[in-house]
């Protein structure tokens, strides 16, 4: 698969549908498209391009293949522990709190945050904005239904993250699914938002965007950093994935690290 052909596909997608994947990280994008070709039983990019341009349903399937990100609850427990220990005490001095989980996907991060805020008695004064480019995954997030098989890992993460209760209190289970309790999404607003094009829509005390920007190239990452910087209140917090850096971002010097070894930053100015 030639890079030029991949670029051509996404230029055509942009021209026809307005979806802009031209600044997505190349190696990941190539892998996703290859998997998609395989699943769709298409021989190559030319055929995919023809199918997508002729049929919006084919575009929807490609869109899903590119935009669905995998996460888990309390991924990197140390991150949540640091958040609980270093950030929560500061947040508890505010009368009202706005959180933005950007690239919320199927909602694992959203429920993790809601549970943490519940246990630290901040949830009642919090509103969490959970956004994603993909409405289908957001609907799934909103449903609060997760595969029961994942709970074993999540329980372990939750405990390592400093969880105070029994994780099982937060959902009811049948043989296949865990359904999370409705109060965990009572203070959550699920909304469509495209980091690659949409503007800021509020000012936040905390923004989480973990393992989302790894799928963007440097140029788009810088754009998103600009967006986050403009969407954070002064002294607000930015949480990234464990192997993401703000080094070389245009706002590197506008943040300080909150906890050693964690990608948790505070906006200074």
């Amino acid at each position: 698969m030639r890079d030029a052909d991949l670029g051509g596909l996404f230029q055509a997608v942009f021209d026809r549908y307005g979806w802009d994947f031209r600044s997505y990280a190349h190696a990941s994008l190539r892998r996703r498209v290859e998997r998609h070709l395989h699943r769709e039983k298409l021989p190559g990019l030319a055929e995919l391009r023809a199918a997508v341009l002729a049929d919006p349903a084919a575009m929807e399937r490609l869109f899903a293949a590119i935009t669905v990100h995998v996460s888990e609850m309390f991924r990197d427990p140390d991150f949540y522990r640091a958040f609980r220990e270093r950030v929560v005490p500061v947040l508890s001095t505010y009368p009202y709190l706005r959180f933005w989980v950007a690239g919320a996907s199927t909602g694992e991060e959203v429920y993790s945050l809601a549970i943490l805020l519940h246990e630290t008695e901040l949830y009642a004064r919090s509103r969490i904005y959970a956004t994603d480019i993909n409405d289908t995954v957001l609907q799934q997030a909103k449903s609060g239904i997760f595969p029961l098989g994942s709970m074993k890992d999540y329980v372990r993460n939750y405990q390592a993250a400093g969880g105070l209760h029994s994780f099982g209190e937060y959902y009811s289970a049948d043989s296949e699914f865990a359904v999370f309790r409705p109060f965990l999404r009572q203070n959550v607003v699920f909304a469509s938002h495209n980091l690659a094009g949409d503007a800021s829509f509020n000012e936040f005390h905390v923004i989480f965007c973990r393992n989302v920007m790894i799928y963007f190239d440097r140029t788009l990452q810088n754009r998103v950093h600009e967006l986050f910087f403009n969407s954070l209140l002064t002294l607000g917090y930015l949480g990234l994935g464990r192997s993401e850096s703000i080094r070389f971002s245009p706002h590197e010097d506008d943040y300080e690290a909150v906890a050693r070894g964690q990608r948790l930053f505070r906006k200074l100015r």
């Binding site: 990280a25 892998r31 393992n211 790894i214 190239d217 993401e244």
Partner: protein, 190 residues
């Protein structure tokens, strides 16, 4: 770009392979090891004790430099682009994240004939398909002699799938890498 895959037995084998390399080594080295996600920074520290070359975990979009060793972070796939790394949290591939196949495949695409793939000890078949892709792209592939490996399954699986350019014991690999990297540096970046 030299890319090394290892699984069961990696912590004893990697020091033999990487320890003898000295500063000025003319190529970047990426290392993918299957490990438990809680193992965290310890593997970096363990390798650094044995290595003269600086060892670090790859960070997303980090530009790689010759003479440095980059370890795939736990629980991420490590992908190689022409000048930098990319990370992904896509599903585990054949139960592995990081997956050696995923990394090798990206190196084959990004580096072509300049790719040098090395597969060491391990208890599964990860890396075999990736080595084949490096070979097809014109790169060089090195497999640890299975009888020399702490666990022979992974190198044997690769040898069953693809003809290696070199089959060597772990102790013989560093000298080979020095030669291959010098040759690659002379023929220019791929």
């Amino acid at each position: 770009m030299i890319v090394i895959g290892a699984s069961f037995g990696a912590s004893r084998t990697l020091p033999l392979v990487l320890g003898p390399l000295t500063p000025g080594f003319p190529d970047a080295i990426a290392v993918v090891v299957h490990r438990h996600r809680e193992s965290d920074q310890r593997l970096v520290e363990l390798l650094q004790v044995h290595c003269a070359l600086p060892v670090s975990e790859a960070v997303d979009k980090e530009a790689f430099q010759p003479g440095r060793i980059y370890l795939a972070p736990a629980d991420y796939h490590l992908l190689v682009e022409s000048r930098h790394f990319e990370l992904s949290t896509d599903e585990p591939f054949n139960f592995a994240r990081p997956s050696i196949d995923v990394c090798f495949e990206s190196v084959a695409h990004a580096c072509g004939a300049a790719a040098i793939g090395v597969l060491l000890t391990g208890a599964n078949a990860d890396g075999a398909v990736g080595l084949a892709k490096i070979k097809v792209a014109g790169g060089t592939i090195v497999v640890q002699e299975p009888t020399d490996a702490e666990c022979p399954v992974m190198p044997a699986a690769a040898l069953a799938l693809v003809r290696a350019d070199y089959i060597r014991s772990a102790r013989a690999i560093p000298a080979l890498l020095v030669r291959l990297a010098a040759e690659a540096a002379q023929s220019g970046p791929g």
